[in-house]
Amino acid sequence: MLEIIREYGLMLLIGEYPHGKLGGLALTLIISIVSLAVTFPCAILIALARTGQSRPLKAIASGFVHSVRAIPLLMLIFWAYFALPMAIGFPIDATYTLIIAIVVYQAAYLGEIIAAGIQGLPNGQVEAAKALGLGYVPTTFRVILPQAIFNVIPGIVNQLTTIIKESSLGSIIAVSELSYVMLQVNSNEVTKPLQIFGILAATYFILCFALSQATNWLERRIANRRTGRVLVEVIA
């Protein structure tokens, strides 16, 4: 096991870099964070459409969410990787097609999380904003969204964990992220698959377990803050 780490550890972390493209764990993290960053504004739009007053927008958003939820991510990746370049007439780097597929997929899930955050706010918040004479835009962006998003921060961090795990599908379309690199290592060292995939699993585990612990911690803190329990703790 240690031999493999000694020999391929650097590759696991950064792929072929600096002799080739950046890959490995570094690429996995970049793909995941970029995907989440791009998904976020899309998800907000979907959430606003889902919870808003406009019927056509509501129907479109709901249709999008339900359709995407009905399709395996792998299918979206195939569409993005094989069909999209055909449709637009020029090639796209596999890494980008992976990000596009994840963004489309996650927009539906993250959109629902944020929509739930908006619906979870007390009615009085909108009413109070209206009573102050605020219009739709300031009510939404100054009153509703900041609170809704704050409350669903644990859900958002949790989606990052999900995205990291989903990015492993990049190995199927030869994106040189963590899983792909280790598949390469495995074909070099044919006799040690258990160690190699053990290391791969452990790497994901450490990363995702740490993030899910962070999610739990955030959840407790935010729940406490919402119910004002922090105050009690401080006094007691």
Partner: protein
Amino acid sequence: MGYHLDFGKVLQGEYLDLILQGIQTTMVLFVLSWIFGLVLAIILTVVRAVKFRPTQLLVAAFVEYHRNVPMLIQLFVWYFGFAVVLPDAVNEYLNDIGAEIGYAIVALALNKAAYMSEDFRSGMRSIHPAQMEAARSIGLTYLGAMRWVILPQAWRLALPALLGQTLILFKGTSLAAGIGVAELSYQARYIEEQSFRIFEAYGIATAIYMLISFAIMWLSAVLSDRFRLRVK
């Protein structure tokens, strides 16, 4: 653009057969992993409910492994990793009978068992402790209270999450393509390579996935509504 959609090309002869085989394999993966997963989940839940530290920790480790490692990697571990601990003769035999699908079912079932047991557990935890107290006050034994009061509520509370896991499992069967199981998305990819009918091949596979997913979603909505537990 010189591309004309022609679904007829893909929906005939050999290609049609491959698609039908793909659907069949997908459904076998889905149904068998679901059943094994659910049974194992119930066992795990019971084991974890028994207050014995070592087994509780073991179950917790099992759950955390399956929740924090990508599904695809779990498939790799079984497919690439498990083979080396078996004797060559066994491997040869397994490869002859199509071991990939067996590994895929094991990996998917174990993964679902981990998630479903968590759903059961949180179902149990969302029951107010006073329910147990009230059941015992009537004179029910601990097991009687479990059987007639706690579990009937727990499975209802866990049901929406379990149904959600069912849909995730259905879509997750596509990952078995990653270890060469010839299920629906694998066949779509193969047909696309052979026929160059990209949009038709993926279009049909996507439509089939959506159709079955929608059926699962519809059934989930019906069941969730039918068995919803309303607590004041």
